[in-house]
Structures are given as C-alpha cells and as structure tokens.
C-alpha cells in the first residue's frame, strides 16, 4: 500500500508530531510521530515509511512500513512491510509479514468462527 490519496484517509504528515489520544471513524495514515493511544475501531491505520508511532493501537486493519512501539489489536488483519520495525504484541485474525520486517513481541492469532487464524508471508 502506498501513500493514500487525499480524501480517502486522514493524513498525518511526516513533519507532524502528536502526543495524546487519537480516535476516529475514518482510515488514518501516519507518516509523522504519534505518541499516545490510537483507536479506530472499524477503520484502518497505516504507518508510513517515515512514521514513528509509540502507542497502543486498536483498529480493523493495521499496516506498518515505519516504526511502531506498542501493542496492536486488529480485528481483521495486520500487515508488516519489509521496512517495518514493530516492538509489541500483535493480536489479530490474520497477519502478513514481509521478508525483512522486524518484530519483537508475541503474535496471537484470534480464531474466527471456530477456525484457526492464519499468518502469511
């Protein structure tokens, strides 16, 4: 996933620094720094290649290209691209990890409708 078109996502640019709670009902693209908690419920979070997020994240889908320090709870899927550096536990139904990504933490795959979840590379 590349940088999204304006209007599709709320966009936090790479020169922006935010400290505090972030919540919303639209998709969010972070290419700056965020420190706090991020809650998007039924929407997705994308941490861009310049993004530095130090937060516990709760969203439908999370895609990381930059740095994320905190626990991730994604009700649908998590995707770690090759430049991702993630430190924290990941809880989700599906996870895709690209070769070269760094993960320090637990991966907990939640079962969906009685089926075991899957992780894919």
């Amino acid at each position: 996933m590349n940088a999204p078109q304006t209007g599709e996502f709320a966009h936090i640019g790479k020169s922006v620094v935010i400290k505090g709670e972030l919540s919303g009902s639209e998709d969010l693209y972070v290419d700056g720094s965020v420190e706090g908690n991020i809650e998007l419920r039924n929407h997705s979070l994308t941490v861009g290649p310049n993004g530095k997020v130090k937060a516990n994240v709760s969203a439908k889908a999370v895609m990381v290209q930059g740095t994320l320090d905190g626990s991730v709870n994604a009700s649908d899927r998590v995707e770690l691209r090759k430049s991702a550096v993630v430190t924290g536990d990941v809880t989700t139904q599906r996870i895709a990890i690209e070769e070269g990504a760094f993960l320090k933490g637990k991966v907990d795959i939640q079962k969906e409708g009685g089926k075991a979840g899957s992780a894919s590379s």
Binding site: I95, A96, F102, G105, K106, V107, D108, A119
Partner: protein
Amino acid sequence: MRFFRNSSNQTAGPAVPQKLTRRSSGMGEISRLLNSSSDSGDALCVLDLGSTSPHNIRFFTGKGHKNYSEDLLRSSLDPALRIQDGLGNWGVDSKTFMEENLVYENAQFDVVLCWNLPDYMEESLVKPTIDRLWSIMKPGGLLLAFFHTRDAGPDSICYRYHVTGTDVLEMQEVKFAPPGRPTSDMRSPRLQRVFNNRHIETLFRDFASIKFFLARDAIREVLVVR
C-alpha cells in the same frame, strides 16, 4: 572483536535470498512435540530468538501455538549498548541489554529456539542470556541451540532457520548493516568463538539434561531440557 565478515557489495540488482536445507535431529524432536500438542489441542508457548521469520510465525500460529519473536543478535548490535571501560576497551553493556531484552514472566515458555545465537553473540552476553532463558522456561521445556565444532573463521556464514514441521530446516543467510552503516551495506555477522563440549555443559549446567547431536556440517546440535 569483529561482528561482521568482510563482504563486497558490488552485485548488480537485488540478490534473491537462497534457502538451503539441513536435517536437524533436535528440531525433529521439537517438531514431534509441537505436532502432538497441536493435535491434542494444547497450545505451547514458543520463543524464537532468530531473525524475524514470517515462515516460523505462520507455522507456529497455524498449529495453534503462541509465538514470541525476539531477534537477540540484532538487538545485541545496537550501537547504544557500546561502552568503553576504564582502559579504553570497547564492550557491550550487558546490564542494559538484559534490562531491555528477554523480559518475560518466569516459567512461561515450553520451547525456546536459540539457533546459533551463542556462537555469534558478544561473549559477555552469552551467560546472562542463558541464565535468563532458564528462568523464563517452564520446567521440562525444551531449548534448541547450534554450535560450530570448529572455527570456520571469516568464511563461516551466519544462518537464520525456518521450521518446516519435520526434522528439516530451511536455512537463509543473515545479513545486517553494521552500526552506523547504511542499510545498503549488509554483511553477515562473524562467528565470535567456538564452544567445546565442556563449555557447553557449563553454559547449561542449571538445566535438567542436555543431549548432543553431531551433524555432518560441523554443527553440534544441543537439545536441553529445563
């Protein structure tokens, strides 16, 4: 002390990672445990200390086990850990390293995959790391480690390992950018030392039992029971 082998970086275009395979008696025993526990619905707690492996995470979670990843070799190369003693010699701050890594509850893990970590890690970190592993493993838990039987010097390739669910492991060369170097300057870590049997037994002396498997590729496999 050198952490990286000399390497040229003159290849044109991205190199395709090549996966070799090796037969592992130790992994065969662990695979049997993982498969039988999965069949009976018992989720095990597995700690993988190698480079982040999508393949391993997929395998363990697919079997219903809990997977923890911690790339200790990469963490040990963090430039922030470099310290100088009173004589000007450079070393690694083992106290800070142990405060920042392997921080888990006691007796948490059923299986620890140490791979070749002790052979490539800075010496001052090896014993504290093994001692910490002892404390976070469950009694009866299994630990697998690989040791070189002879010093292959700068030609020794540091591998990461991908499990297949059998006694066969896929191997892939590990490369890091040395501290302070751009990511385009990737090199394989250098073998730091060779442990003999006695050293290995001393290293794991607090564990309940230790089993050696000597492989044809000059690797001594060690399967240790907590």
